[in-house]
Symmetry: C2
DNA sequence: GTTTGCTGCGCAAACGTTTCCCATATGCTG
DNA sequence: CAGCATATGGGAAACGTTTGCGCAGCAAAC
């Protein structure tokens, strides 16, 4: 009486044997049917599927993983989930993963390399099939150690060598060029740029894309208007302050990410300047909250959904043999999203309201 | 040559047998040592731990889960990850889970009850040990069906009956009372409230907390100033518009969540009103972006970290036998976070700038 | 010196799959 | 019609753990 099984009042979750019994086949056939092995007789397969349906059977993932060595679990490592950049990325990653029959494990590093190692550790213990490292600031030595693990990894921007690694390239230039052109068409000639921390690969890429776009538009950059920010609100506030304090300010400011742009908005608000009447501002990333700022922020969009989809794809390509004809190329575009923070240049230079 | 094992150049991940061999004990003893079974001789245990250390062994989670029936996986179901309310919740949940030796599986329902069922389905297939349902709008019939599953569940606000269910209560009143008092002290007598969709339990709770707090502060509510919003930016914009259009508007507006409050800010900005000079605004939730609005939003904070911690605790209490003396009580507080969107009431009624 | 009781270790049976290998049935060729 | 190649299903061995059960070994009691 004490042991289970006796309790037939609550039907136990059926296992593969129950299905086999009902379909009058062996468990091997059931397994083959489920895994769509081609050699199984269609009539038997139909019997099996019917049995599966009537019993409401679903295979035990643990057992499956144990014997096959494939967990169908994908790891996703991000910097910081409260950074508005990442939720959309996660969303896309989840969708794409589930679409491909995978489940995901998320971890955030909070920009701490040590925590990153712990994350990878935990994921390896859970036997993930592959990991997407979507934190943008990844350092050399850590990358080296990651290379030891014999597990597929995918990165953004950085391209470590190794047969198990993939890289997703971002075409920063396309969208940034659109933004510069947009400002140029509106009549701006004096454009400033607040970059991210330049030790980050992605920040350098964005800045050089900006410089190139300026050149192509025939605009000359004033060196004093090229400042290094921190990809944070505070950095944006501080750098805009500096621009205002210097005698001559640009009429338009582009930034390396949206948080910086929001900082710029704050700085300008405090100084009594109006956007876009006195200054035009264009951000980068087009995070969700860019729609909610005052005024709604014009920003260069980098599609997180696309990025996530690429990441899942890259991992899948490593995990499931693809036809030789298939030559993957993981690249995501950037595009300008026009809202209301950029307009015609002010006809007369802004004078700070005396306070 | 073809099969693995031969490749001793890359050391295979050691299993429990390797540890047993090195420590000169049986695998049973290794297992017992790892699981801190009391009956194992300390000297043997030490040998085992040493062997584990030198080999860098970590047990295979799949095999463990298969035989023990416990996956040490916790499910977390949320409404929508791009809603700024949830990332912090996830962060807290992850931290608390890892702290207790669990890993987490996240899914978002996008407010679709059908998708919610799929989420639960997927999680059951992964054999999660318990699920936290942190979506605020959960409906009756769905709840019924959830009750069928014999797996611990934890909810917010709603309290389904069942031996496997837990509920986390939120003390909405505390923080909302603080907000009303704050306004009252500043001198506001005319306070409006934009609620959430009233079919949501949590929205009703917040509204009634507001009404009670108004009563206790000796303030009379003008019925026309009690409006039903949608917990979205658009709802906030529309309802604030209505308040402005009606002849007489309140001097302060409280809302049922921060998105609504941000909508109010937009509406006021468009009408040319200044915050807090012309109107005071107080939100609810204190999401991260409340710090970034113009002006930074005063808001009633409900700690997502605390909420998440409670959820993990509630699940753990169901999963691991607790001493009888332990009587759990899952309750989270709310508190006012003062920023800059509430100030003294305007001395003269706001007149919309003619446009 | 024999019995009893207890402690703590090892043996081996699960857990629910996948997959290798072999047996059988079937079709085809000569 | 015999013989062989080929398709297809079943038996059973893995996968790496946990855990029930039995059995040594030892101390205490008679």
């Amino acid at each position: 009486m004490s042991r289970a099984k006796r309790n037939t009042n609550r039907p136990a979750r059926p296992d593969i044997h129950a299905v086999a019994r009902l379909a009058r086949v062996s468990i091997a056939t059931v397994s083959r049917t489920i895994n769509h092995v081609a050699t199984v007789d269609p009539r038997l397969a139909q019997r099996v599927w019917k049995a599966i349906d009537t019993l409401g059977y679903s295979p035990n993932t643990q057992a499956r993983a144990l014997v096959s060595g494939r967990s169908h679990l994908l790891g996703l490592i991000i910097s910081e989930i409260t950074n508005p950049f990442f939720p959309e990325l996660i969303q896309g990653f989840e969708d794409a993963a589930v679409e491909n029959g995978y489940e995901i494990l998320i971890s955030s590093t909070n920009y701490d390399p040590q925590r990153m190692e712990l994350c990878i550790q935990r994921m390896l213990e859970r036997k993930v099939d592959g990991v997407a490292v979507m934190t943008f600031g990844i350092e050399g030595p850590l990358l080296e150690r990651l290379a030891q693990r014999d597990i597929p990894l995918v990165f953004v921007d950085v391209a470590p060598k190794g047969p198990l690694f993939s890289t997703i390239e971002v075409d920063y230039y396309h969208g940034i060029r659109e933004a510069v052109q947009h400002l140029a068409v509106l009549g701006h000639r004096r454009i400033g740029f607040i970059s991210g921390p330049l030790h980050l690969h992605s920040a350098r890429e964005r800045q050089s894309a900006f410089l190139r776009a300026m050149g192509e538009a025939g605009l000359k950059l004033t060196p004093a208007w090229l400042l290094e920010g921190t990809h944070t609100l505070e950095g944006g506030i501080a750098m805009m302050q500096r621009l205002l304090d210097s005698g001559e300010a640009p009429t338009a400011i582009m930034t390396s990410n949206d948080m910086t742009a929001i900082g710029v908005l704050h700085s300008l608000h405090k100084a009594g300047a109006r956007v876009p009447d006195d200054f035009s501002v264009i951000g980068f990333d087009d995070v969700t909250i860019a729609q909610f700022t005052l005024p709604p922020l014009t920003s260069v969009q980098m599609s997180r959904l696309e990025l996530a989809r690429c990441a899942v794809l890259a991992l899948r390509d490593r995990l499931e043999p693809q036809p030789v004809s298939y030559v993957p190329r993981y690249k995501v575009q950037t595009r300008l999203t026009v809202r209301q923070s950029a307009g015609l240049p002010a006809t007369r230079p802004f004078r700070r309201a005396n306070g």
